[in-house]
Structure formats: C-alpha cells, structure tokens
Symmetry: C3
Subunit: 397 residues, 3 copies
Amino acid sequence: MSKAMELARHLETLHINNMYKNDFYWTWDKTDEELDAIFTVADALRDLRERNKSTRVFDSGLGISIFRDNSTRTRFSFASACNLLGLEEQVLDEKVSQIAHGETVRETANMVSFMAEVIGIRDDMFIGEGHKYQKTFIDALEEGYRDGILEQRPTLVNLQCDVDHPTQCMADMLHIIHYFGGVENLKGKKVAMTWAYSPSYGKPLSVPQGVVGLFTRFGMDVVLAHPEGYEIMPEIEEIAKKNAEQSGGSFSKCNSMAEAFKDADIVYPKSWAPFAAMEKRTKLYQQGDKAGIDALEKELLQQNAEHKDWACTEEMMSLTKDGKALYLHCLPADITGLSCKEGEVDNSVFDRYIVPLYKQASYKPYIIAAMIFLAKVKDPVKALMAMDASDELRKKF
Amino acid sequence: MSKAMELARHLETLHINNMYKNDFYWTWDKTDEELDAIFTVADALRDLRERNKSTRVFDSGLGISIFRDNSTRTRFSFASACNLLGLEEQVLDEKVSQIAHGETVRETANMVSFMAEVIGIRDDMFIGEGHKYQKTFIDALEEGYRDGILEQRPTLVNLQCDVDHPTQCMADMLHIIHYFGGVENLKGKKVAMTWAYSPSYGKPLSVPQGVVGLFTRFGMDVVLAHPEGYEIMPEIEEIAKKNAEQSGGSFSKCNSMAEAFKDADIVYPKSWAPFAAMEKRTKLYQQGDKAGIDALEKELLQQNAEHKDWACTEEMMSLTKDGKALYLHCLPADITGLSCKEGEVDNSVFDRYIVPLYKQASYKPYIIAAMIFLAKVKDPVKALMAMDASDELRKKF
Amino acid sequence: MSKAMELARHLETLHINNMYKNDFYWTWDKTDEELDAIFTVADALRDLRERNKSTRVFDSGLGISIFRDNSTRTRFSFASACNLLGLEEQVLDEKVSQIAHGETVRETANMVSFMAEVIGIRDDMFIGEGHKYQKTFIDALEEGYRDGILEQRPTLVNLQCDVDHPTQCMADMLHIIHYFGGVENLKGKKVAMTWAYSPSYGKPLSVPQGVVGLFTRFGMDVVLAHPEGYEIMPEIEEIAKKNAEQSGGSFSKCNSMAEAFKDADIVYPKSWAPFAAMEKRTKLYQQGDKAGIDALEKELLQQNAEHKDWACTEEMMSLTKDGKALYLHCLPADITGLSCKEGEVDNSVFDRYIVPLYKQASYKPYIIAAMIFLAKVKDPVKALMAMDASDELRKKF
C-alpha cells in the first residue's frame, strides 16, 4: 500500500467534518484531529507529487494573495500550493488597484472573489489590525456567498497576521514530527522558543506566539525566554498554559537564554518586537504622529541594543541536549558576520543546520495546499484515494 | 434540458458569423443579435460553471492585459475570464518592460502576442487617445497575422477606452435583464443616466457614453442629465438618438437631476469629467504644458464644486418610481460620509443597494469570457453543447 | 508523415544524453548535436502547436523568472514557453520580496524552488557578475536537490547574462536556417556582426558575443567590426576562432563597418558598450564610487558620440550582397528619425525588414520551450511522437 493510501486511511479515522467550507485563522481554533488532518494531507500530497501523480482538484479557479508586508517564502509557498491543486494565483496589489480612495474591505473582498477558491492574506504589521482585516475580509465573503453574489465561498488561509503565523508553525511542526520520527516521540522533548537580538527591532510577534500556541499541544516542555519588555500577548500565554495542561507537557517562562537552551531538544531563537511598544506604535500610526513614531523607534533601537548577548552562539548551542538541539528558524535569519555585524545566530551554527532549515521550509507549500484541500474538498479521503489510484500524471513525459 | 442547453439552442437562432475572429471595441459596432449572443454565452458559461462543468477551451495560451490606468474589478474580471477558458493571464507592465524608449506599438504588439489569444486593454485617460491606441495595437496584430509572424490572431477586448466601457455596460445590462425578468420587460422603462458630484473631478466619460449608447437599444426611455459644461461626446449622443428611434424608446437630455430621477425605473448617478476640458487637458499634456495643466485642474475643481447638489440622496431616490428605482454604479462609488465628505451617493442609499450592486459587478467576468469565446470558438453552439454533455468537471473532488 | 514526426526521427539520430537534467548557460558549452536538438525540438513544438496538438508536459509546476534588467520580448517568450509546456510562470521580484537584507542566493534559490521546474534568469548589467549569479543560483539548487531539500532539480535557462544571450542567438540562428532554406545552405555565407551607434551607450555585450560564439559553428564567414575601444571579451574571440576552424568557416575582425558589410549575406548592426569601460564601471559600482561612475559615463558618452557614422544606412546596405543582405536585430533597435535622432539603423532599412525581424523574434518562445523540454523530458523522441499521435488538442473548440 502506498504512503498516500496509508495516510488516507488514517485521515478516515479523524473527525474533521467541520473543516469543509471553513477557514484557517489560528491553530488554537482547531481541534487536535483537525491539525492531524492537515499534517496527514500535507504528507499525502507530497507523496503523490513525489510519485508523479496529478493532484489537480481544480480545472479552473483563482487563488488570491494579498501581501501587506514583504514576502518571498510564503509568497512562493502559496503560489506553489495553488498551482499544485490547479488554481492560478492572482496577486491583489493594493498599489496598482483602485482601492486607495476609501473603498471598503467588503467591496474589495467581493470584487476580486467571483471566481476565487482561496484567499491568502499576510497582514502582520500592526498589533490588533492584521487579524481584524482578515476577519472583515472573510465576513464580507461569507455575506456575499449567502446573498448569492458569489457562487462559491473562498476559504481563508492566514499567511501571517499580528497574532499567529499558522502556515509557518504548522510547517515547523511537521518538520519536527518527521525529524523525531513521529508525533509519538515528541512527549517530554524540551523546546526553547527564545528571543534573539537583531539589528532590525520591529519583527512581528506572530512566530513566537504561533510556536508556543501550537508546540504546547504535543506534550513537550516549551520554554519561552526573552528579556524583560519583550512579552508576547497575554492571551497567547494563557492558551499555551492550557494546551500544556491538556497535552501533559509544560509551558514556562524565563528571562535567560542560557536557562532556556539548557538541555533543550529544539531551539528557536528569533527576534521580535516588544509587544507594548508595538501597541504604542499602532496608536501613533493611527494618529499619524510621525514625531512620536520617530521618538519611539529611537527608544526601541536603544532598548534593543542592550540585548546583543541574546544570540545563538556556539557556546549557547553547547548547552543544549548533547550540544545537538535541532535549530529552527522561519528564515531569513540575521546571521552574525554574514547578513549583519551582530545578529540572531552565529554563522557556524546556522551553516551547520542549513539542510534541516531548508527542509523545514519545504513543508510550507504542502501545509498550505492541505489547508485549501480540506476546506474545499468534500470527501478528502475519497479524493486522496482517487488520486492515488489514477493514472493522471503530474509530469506526463 | 439544462439552462446552458436552452441558451445554446437560442444562440443557434442568431446571426453571428461575423463575431468569429473579430474584436470588441464598442457596443454600437455590434448588431443586436451579436449583443444577444454575448448575453447568451455569458449566461451559459455561468450556468455551466455553477453546475461544475469544465469550460476550458484552451489547453495553453495567454491572455495579455494592459492597464494604462488603475483597476481592480476589471483586472480581476479579465483574469477570471481567461482562467475560466484555460488561458493564463500575463500583465504587460509598461514600467518594467523595455517599451519606454520609443518602441513602436506595432512592435510591442507583435512581441507579446506569439502565443496570445486575447488582448485586454484599458486606456481611458485621454480623450482621443485610448481608442486610437487599441486600434493601432490590433491593426499591428492583424498585419502580423497576415504576414505569418503570428500563428493566431489575438482578439481585442476593450477593457475601457476614452469612448466606451463595453465590458462594464454589458455587465450592467445583463444585470438589468435578469433584475426585470427578461429583456422583453425593459420596453418603456425609464433610465436616468446622470452626472453626480465627486471630489475627484476627472473621471472618464466612457461609462455614461457606454450606457446611453447601449441602453437606448432596448426600447427604454433614457434620460441623460448633467450640469452645463459636462456634455458627453456629440457622436455618442447621435448614436443614442438613432438607437432610440430604432428600438422604439427615447433619448432625451436635461440639466436637472431631479427631472431625470422623476419616475425612473433605473438610476445611474456617476461623476465624469467635462468633455471640452478633457480635450483641452489632452492637448496640454501633448504640449507638456505643466503650468497650463495645473491652472486647468484648479479651474475644473472650482467648476466641479459648484454642483455638490448633484447627489443621489434619499430625497432624490424618493422621486423615482415608487421610490424604488434600481440604483446602478460601476464602482467604486464616492459615498458621502463613508469614502468622502460629499460624494455621488448617500451612504444609506448605497448601503440599501449593496447586494444588487455587487451582483451587477458579478456579470463582468462572464461578459468578458463570452466576448473571448465568441471571437475564438468557431462553432460556439456546438462547443456549449459539448461542455454541457461532458463529464469533465471544473472541480474534480 | 507530419513535420513533427520527421523532426522526432531526426532527433533520434542525435547524441543528447547529456541534456537531460542539465542547464543552458552558453551555446559553446553544448555540442553541435545538442544545438541541433534544440532547433529540432523548437521546430517540432511549433509544428505541433500550429496543428493544434497539446504540448503540455506538466500538469502542475512553476517556471520562475528573475529579471534583474528590463525585458519585454524575453519575458513574454519565457512566459509563453512555460505556458506551452503546462508550467505557470512566477516572477521573483526582488523589490517586493524579503531578499534585500543580506539573504544569501543559496537560500533564495532553494526557497522559491520547491515546486519549480525551470529558472530563467536575466542578469546582464555588470561584466563578471551575471554569469556568476546564475552559477551560484544553480549550484545552490544542485546542492538542495542532492540534500533532499528539493524533490526535483529545476533547470536553468540563461535569459541573458554578461557573457552570452543564448535564447536570443539560438532564435536568430533558427531564423537564418529557415530563411536560407536549411543549415546546409549556410556554408560560406558572410555575416557582419557590427557595432552601431546608439544614444544610449551602455548596452550589454552578450548579443555580439553570443552571435560570434554561435554563428562561427556553421561554416560561415563571420566578421566582427567595431570602432577601437569596443572590443568584446577576448575569451569569446578565442572561442569564435576555434569554432571557425572546426566548421570550415572563418572569423575575422576589422574596424570598418563598410568593410564588414561588403558582400555580406547577413548583417547584425547593434550598439554595445566598450568592454574595458564596463569592467571599470563594475569596479566603481562595487566600490560605490558615484563620482567615478558619473565621470566615466560622461567620458563614454563623448567617446560614443564620435562614432555616429557607424549606422546601418541605405548606403551601407547597398554594399551588401546584391544590396539585399538579411538584416538582423535582437530588438528594440534605435531607429534614426523614429525612436531617436541618430541611431543604429535608418528608418527605411528597418521598415523594409520588419516582417523578417518579427519572425526572427517569433522563434524565441520555441527555443526556450525546447531548452526546458530537453532538460526535463527523459525520452524526448517518444514524447514528441506521443504528442503527435495524441488527440489532446491545444484548443478544444
């Protein structure tokens, strides 16, 4: 029996009725079985592709992407996922559209969606804004569908908001699952999700939040470490705590990178912005207070520079389990001596982990494809089995 | 019998031999039966899509879009139409190409068209220029095809020029036809195509011109209303008059919004630029007279601001037939108190008509697809029937 | 027997095992039989397309393009070639990606390639840089493929580097082959690859280098003519000499356009930058010496302006074989009195050759498609025969 077939059989055992015609905002909205289904379908689609089986679900249809922040990895992952399923990506570029002059999100959402099957949105710039935008967009589509304006209801894939970065963290997790030889081997593993210094101080909180919100569900001991002032959103810490209780793992916090790295099986050192300051910045932007923003940025750069010792050095790595913890990063990393003078990680450490790091990234297109697949395909088990049995090839010759 | 099948049978009764390998510039170039064919094919493609039938005509081939002005709706409509038929959209972005330095339109046209099936062009900025550009482009392709440079002759779909906006007005019309339960119910309906105030004074004339040039063909009483100085092109008024005579309707003009709205069944209040001033502006641009342009724009803004009472308010709407005329707009509208301080329409009016307005917009992808289909498919009746009978699905699972 | 079938039979006689899973940097890396294979497949794909046969190899997969310089012709040729084979083009736009801040080429290359089958790169701006970038990019993919990061190894198509412009020169050559009725008729034909004046002085050397590096392989007498100071890379001259010896043709140089044009069967007058100055410019750029660049550019413009007599005038054309040499250009040309005051070619000359010039350009999509095809299809003979025999149509109706 093929791997895809085995995975389809596993999928059959999961309760996932709620996924069809649904959206993907945050991992903590989803049940354990729903996340399992995404991992399962991602692996199945990968197996089918590797065995040169066609995985086209659609003969026509668009996948719309909206990137309100720069992107390479996620952009190409989304485009790849759409293409794999037979959808054509169309970018909604707010600069070359007519959207500027006061058009409502409701209108834009409907106008681009007449033939869209999926909307992928990255909006991670401002605390309290990114998720709201995605929600408003999808509410408008739900309404449009109910009112008979849209013939199909496009599904949302959150390509990073201010709260979570689910396609990233799910890809990270699938990488870990395979690295450790199965989800059953994760219990008791220690994960250090730590802040790290970077010359650019304003990175989104969605990765650390996504990681503690997701990794705590697998019975692991998740430690969140950062200098004072770099707290993440308290709601997410609450979620992490509850997850840990339910999964039999733990969630703890500390203000020392070394303590977090001590005996860790997995480390994820990464820069992010101070939450309270980000909230202040969002307000200053809303008020259009340019002087205030400049003053705040100066202050933040100073605060930031005080923590250059939060770096994933060789010394730091030697503290981990056998000195060989799995190093994770969502990429691109700020690499000391390569991409910047002082950054998140030593070049020698980064370089040693390049192959697993790139493999980590390779799961994202499949995670996204699985999210679309489960939201769009009524009987995903049957569909996988049909693809497995079909003699339609991805590459004919 | 399916709806698509019924529509195919109706298509069979129409004289449309001239549409194959032809272009779509203006609605008044087309016979009544040709327009009927477009509505019919648009409805048939929609029915096929709703019934999950594949409507792919092409296995490969490009649809080239050239937007010399901003666009969201039309851009996505064109991309959707191409995708629905199996073509991949490619945008010719004049900024990132080598076109700048004096390359002729003839050359560009041929260079991008070796594998193109359709060219969609929006060029609506300057009076006397937009249509000319489209014509030059297509003449070059015709020549290229005759000379054996091109293996196929791409068809033109006018995505808005300085004269007409046929994909918009055809979509508007198909909306009206369905709203009133059939084309036979339109006779004697009163349509008010009126100017309305907007803070941005320079919008193209192609929508009002397209509307009076098309709507007068259906036996309706079309009233064109605007303040003095906002005349449309006299040639188009002539066309509207002739159309009205032939169709048994009427075409009249007045300088009062209230008079136009009185007992109207349909209202289309929309800002446009003063024609004479636009002609002047085009000349100033050609002369590169920046000071002249600035002076003219100032003058126009002043003139414009004198007509803030031309707004589709609740009071104005109450004058219409039972106070319930169908409100149309090509979108985005300038909505008073929502997208601007004082605009084309009251927020409460706009909001009440959102569902029909968005439905109006939903016809555009199908209208464009129908235009391509009829220009490219030799036997459209047979093709629709084959699609209807086929078990190729749009969405396989 | 169809033309495609005949071509497939010819392909069967060629030794091309090395092409599968290989890349295309420069024509001089390839054997004569390999170049023959590309011409053969290009012609076969064209014949199949003209006969409305589907030439889809791929059911899904991306073609990534990276244009570090402007492009229209090559951009659309690449997009067309991808589309013809079933790949969706995705543009890697370095401006809207996260690449800016020090990300390595190795990382970017892997990140965009998880589902990519081909990478097309134009990087022709700086001597010594363009080829290096392509090589680094592909080495990273080779490594990624070996390390199991990538499931398939994308092939490179050089869309112009600082050294060669193989898709252009191969298209030029295929045009010549058809123009003269077969490759066997080229022996002894005289080709004048000459510099010509253009107001923009900094054009890449890749076209003249590509032409002398390729055309000398067909037994022709290739003359390279330019003013002093406009030498091409000496390595390429060496290649041209060796080619000429082997093919029984000749390669010579002179500093007179008239001498080169004398009795020529083919002329290719085109502006390019002085090589030594380009090297200097590259260094100044690397040093960030803006004043130095400005001074150099001024000097170059002066030097350039001394050679306005290097123009393809009617007088110059009258010197060629029967006054009727085949005029070639990669386009866009700088046309005297049309696109500039004084340029590379008289308007009357250019205009007389427009049809063959555009036909010359029409081969590029097929040349690119053939390069992809031969790198990706394991048994190209069988694939062409299957396509020829299949009843899958490119355009169904």
